[in-house]
């Protein structure tokens, strides 16, 4: 145990999954030709004015709801004034006085211990444009200018880098499942900054705060905090003092690097945005948004476990939202969910990954999937044989029964037919029969194998075993 207590707070920006930008009707999209998704409003041309995308308010309400925040009923936007080339109006429209959500929390499970991570506030704002520096020049892509963001700020309530990681995973899961954001850190649609300070004991005032900016992945948030804690501990041990500063995580150096020492508080000259009237959030708006919130990840996990799916598979399903949504459509069916989960996470996932498809893009609709699950669970088809017909199942519209029967993988359940095969194998292997009768149990497995071979794996193993034992024991 270290002799210092870390205090960690996290600020996250997520880009909202809207069709258009927050203050103009330009399309909101990632990966388009530079400066193709922009208009005179995004570029801050003289005389242009912001409009307000209602989708953004709804997603803000949604995020606030799933993050257990209180929702501001009358809010406005503010201007944050600062000059920077990526800031087209040289002010950013944000919420300073009246963030849409405040006083929330999310719950994390840290190795079986539940902990609430408190959210100070979450507010809506516009993204800046993307600047790329090459040689002496800076290139500006305004496609990102005006993309809606929410910024979510925790209280300084985390004490380990692992908690920070768990919080971010939880946050990403919630916002992804509610379609607030696609939360892709690699594309910048989720960006995290971490604040960290160390002190000796809880009764001490907070130590000097260091901000680590724009960390590229959740695992790097944990790693950068670990590195930063080690760095600060060493300095504190040596009685070195340091100033409040901003650092970044350099994944090549695998350490944090100084960006700048904080100067005396930035003066953003905030004032209420006069071009956008106050927004009233009504009960009706909140109710309508709540109706669009799907079953959340924690509830899904509980439900899956309740239905007999293993904890590992339950987690894996929740991590794959397509499959989780898919299985959620059949929660009321009387099927073997263990089999269903195995199929989805096993052969079907492998197939989908290989083909680069989503399950919705295959012919395996819910009805056919239920048939498939039942055929596997009643052993009409072994999971081994399934591989041979999976492609047909995923690409053709035929019924599962038809696909199984028209292939030679069907389990042979015809007792007369199987008896014939069993007799044939017994006749051909007198030594093994003798071995069995002399108490060598292994011999029966050999005979089984021969029967399966004869039927090209198609025989129903349970049925074969019962016929075989019958013959041998009598």
């Amino acid at each position: 145990m270290s002799k210092y207590l870390p205090t960690i707070g996290i600020e996250v920006h997520v880009e909202l999954k809207t069709n258009t930008k927050i203050f103009s009707n330009s399309r909101n999209g990632y990966g388009s030709v530079v400066n193709s998704l922009t208009n005179v409003v995004d570029l801050g041309y003289p005389g242009t004015l912001p409009t307000l995308n209602e989708e953004v308010i709804n997603l803000g309400i949604k995020a606030a709801t799933v993050l257990n925040c209180k929702i501001r009923r009358k809010m406005h936007f503010d201007r944050k004034n600062y000059f920077y080339p990526d800031n087209p109006k040289n002010y950013q429209i944000t919420q300073n006085d009246t963030p849409i959500g405040y006083d929330g929390y999310v719950e994390i499970n840290d190795d079986g211990v539940m902990k609430k991570i408190y959210i100070e506030e979450m507010h809506i704002e516009e993204d800046t444009c993307k600047s790329t520096h090459r040689k002496d020049n800076t290139y500006l892509d305004f496609n990102r200018a005006g993309v809606p963001l929410i910024e979510i700020v925790t209280k300084p309530c985390m004490t380990t880098p692992n908690e920070a990681k768990l919080y971010l995973e939880k946050l990403r899961e919630l916002l992804f499942y509610t379609d607030v954001s696609d939360c892709k850190m690699e594309e910048g649609s989720m960006r995290a900054d971490a604040n960290i300070s160390l002190r000796k004991k809880e009764s001490d005032p907070f130590g000097t705060k260091v901000e680590i900016k724009n960390i590229g992945s959740i695992s790097n948030v944990k790693l950068s905090l670990e590195k930063e804690i080690a760095r600060q501990e060493k300095m504190l041990d040596n009685n070195e003092s340091f100033k409040e500063q901003t650092r970044r995580f350099d994944s090549k150096l695998n350490d944090t690097v100084l960006m700048r020492v904080k100067e005396t508080g930035n003066d953003y000259r905030y004032f209420p945005e006069p071009d956008i009237p106050f927004v009233e959030i009504t009960d009706e708006m909140i109710e309508n948004v709540k109706k669009t919130i799907p079953m959340l990840p924690d509830e899904r996990r509980e439900k899956y476990i309740e239905l007999g799916i293993s904890e590992i598979n339950s987690n894996k399903l929740v991590q794959n939202r397509d499959l989780s949504d898919y299985i959620n459509d059949l929660l009321d069916e009387k099927i073997d969910f263990q089999v269903a989960a195995n199929l989805l996470l096993g052969d079907i996932s492998a197939y989908l990954n290989k083909e680069e498809k989503t399950i919705e893009e295959t012919t395996l609709n819910i009805e056919r999937f239920i048939d498939l699950v039942n055929n596997v669970s009643n052993k009409t088809i072994s999971s081994k044989n399934l591989k041979d017909i999976l492609e047909t199942i995923m690409t053709k519209e035929d019924s599962i029964e038809k696909i199984i029967s028209s292939s030679d993988v069907q389990n042979i359940t015809d007792e007369n037919l199987l008896t014939e095969v069993v007799d044939k194998i017994i006749d051909a292997n007198p030594e093994s029969v003798n071995d069995y009768k002399n108490g060598h149990d292994r011999a029966i497995k050999y005979l089984m194998g021969q029967i399966m071979k004869e039927t090209k794996g198609g025989a129903n193993p349970a049925l074969v075993m019962s016929i075989l034992k019958d013959k041998l024991d009598n």
């Binding site: 005179v40 570029l43 801050g44 041309y45 003289p46 005389g47 242009t48 004015l49 912001p50 409009t51 307000l52 201007r79 004034n81 000059f83 080339p85 087209p88 109006k89 040289n90 002010y91 800076t138 500006l140 003066d267 000259r269 905030y270 004032f271 209420p272 006069p274 071009d275 956008i276 009237p277």
Partner: protein
């Protein structure tokens, strides 16, 4: 003058009957502008495009009263393909790729934009002398200012070049020049006219409005300009004809005159003229009371805080990166900012940006800006209170008549004091109109302001048309 001194309905009939063409009107307009070149009313003329449009109109049916009628547009209102400078060096070569909503609206009615009028740089001033292009002159006396900031629009209409002009009014910039030049100028209810495409000075106060030489024309143009615009969230739905009460009798009307408006801040001559006008009202059984109003004497102070604060932010976008003048070969980004803006803005604009930045800085935003917003609400409530008992508030529009162009500009607060009587209306977001009520001894126009509750522009036109008829200020008065 052959046509442009006629009532609009007569011009419309001539056009309809194909007795004249829109180009005939343009001939007259541009001949007049040429003759009055010395007045410096325009920054940019749109002659070529105007004639092109006029020719096109020859094959289109005359479908409204303003069809084919020339109009001048203040140069802080964006016009697609037509240079829009806001009278600033920084936008000297700025050609917008979009029309302001009001420009779309006047184009839809097939009015013809003849040019962009001179003004104070970014509408910051009361005499149009902060224009990068030099000040316009008052047609009544070329040594006098036309007022501001819509000085060019006032000049050209008063000179008889054109019947219609657009102005913008943040702290009196339509009404004050209208008063100095003897025009009818309306500052509509905040939100009545879309601000989309109006280069922002103080967003919570700016409002575009019509400047004309009679009441009817003014109401007619407001019909065109007003209405909800999806591009401006502060705009409001309008479904009414602002001419509908013109000529209708005034029954049981009560008028309030704030004592502040008739105090010794106003010149004796103007006060006398207003009193004469009040007498006319009383003679026509209109009850006029002198009242005290709280806060209106504080309006200028509040205005300075709010307008300069907002302006400092609104003008931040002029950084030389995306459009407008840009300093060549800067050393770095901050050098670009500093040199572009130092060169591009005039002294008054710089002063207001600096004061505005200071007012919003750190704790000042709470001490000044937010406080000013809250007192502004109190002003609005004070007006509401008066309007519970009275239909109108009237008073002089300006404290003096137009002063000399070469009067010193070294006292910055003086220019705000010019607007002491018009600013309270902007603070309350209500409509106000200047109507000329007479001439001073030295033959300069004197104006009176008519103020009504929000959305009551039609009622203002009703009283204004009544006075217009009684006073017969000169020139053309009626339809």
């Amino acid at each position: 003058m052959k046509y442009l001194n006629k009532p609009i309905k007569e011009i419309n009939k001539l056009l309809k009957d194909k007795k004249i063409k829109p180009t005939d009107l343009l001939d007259e307009v541009y001949a007049s502008i040429e003759a009055n070149k010395d007045l410096n009313a325009y920054i940019t003329l749109n002659k070529e495009e105007a004639y092109k449009k006029a020719k096109e109109l020859e094959s289109i049916e005359v479908d409204n009263l303003l069809f084919g009628i020339p109009i001048a547009v203040k140069d802080n209102i964006c016009t697609k393909g037509l240079r829009t400078t806001a009278a600033s060096h920084i936008l000297e070569n700025f050609v917008p790729i979009y029309d302001a909503t009001v420009v779309e609206k006047i184009n839809e009615k097939n009015m013809i934009i003849i040019g962009k009028t001179n003004m104070d740089e970014f509408a910051m001033g009361s005499s149009s002398r902060t224009s990068y292009f030099g000040a316009p002159k008052n047609p009544w006396n070329h040594d006098k200012i036309s007022g501001g900031s819509s000085g060019g629009s006032a000049t050209t209409v008063a000179a008889g070049d054109v019947l219609f002009a657009l102005g913008s009014d943040t702290g009196g910039s339509i009404r004050q020049p209208a008063s100095y030049t003897g025009l009818v100028g309306m500052k509509p209810t905040y939100g009545r006219v879309s601000r989309y495409g109006l280069i922002a000075f103080a967003s919570s106060l700016d409002q575009i409005g019509p400047m004309t030489n009679n009441v009817y024309n003014n109401a007619l143009l407001l019909n065109v300009l007003s209405g909800k615009d999806n591009k401006d969230l502060t705009s409001i739905e309008t479904d009414e004809d602002f001419t509908r009460l013109i000529g209708k009798p005034l029954k049981d009307v009560k008028v309030a005159v704030p004592n502040f408006f008739m105090s010794d801040i106003v010149s004796d001559e103007i006060r006398e003229k207003v009193k004469e006008t009040i007498k006319i009202l009383e003679d026509n059984k209109i009850k006029v009371d002198y009242i005290d109003m709280k806060y209106i004497d504080k309006a200028v102070t509040l205005y300075q805080i709010i307008a300069m604060g907002e302006a400092s932010s609104n003008l931040a976008r002029f950084d030389g990166i995306r459009y407008g003048s840009s300093y060549e070969n800067p050393e770095n980004i901050y050098d670009l900012y500093v040199k572009t803006r130092s060169r591009g803005f005039g002294a008054e604009v710089k002063r207001r940006i600096m004061v505005g930045s200071y007012l919003l800085s750190g704790e000042n935003a709470k001490i000044y800006y937010n406080k000013a917003l809250s007192i502004r609400d109190d002003i609005a409530k004070e007006f509401d209170k008066v309007f519970e008992k009275y239909d109108y508030i009237i008073g002089p529009t300006t404290t003096t008549t137009a002063y000399n162009l070469d009067d010193p500009m070294d006292d910055p607060s003086k220019s705000f004091m010019d607007d002491v009587l018009v600013i309270p209306v902007n603070m309350a977001g209500i409509p106000g109109l200047n109507i000329p009520i007479g001439l001073s001894k030295d033959n300069m126009p004197i104006g009176m302001q008519i103020i009504a509750p929000k959305y009551e522009e039609a009622k203002i036109y009703q009283l204004a048309s009544f006075l217009e008829e009684k006073i017969n200020f000169g020139g053309d008065t009626n339809e």
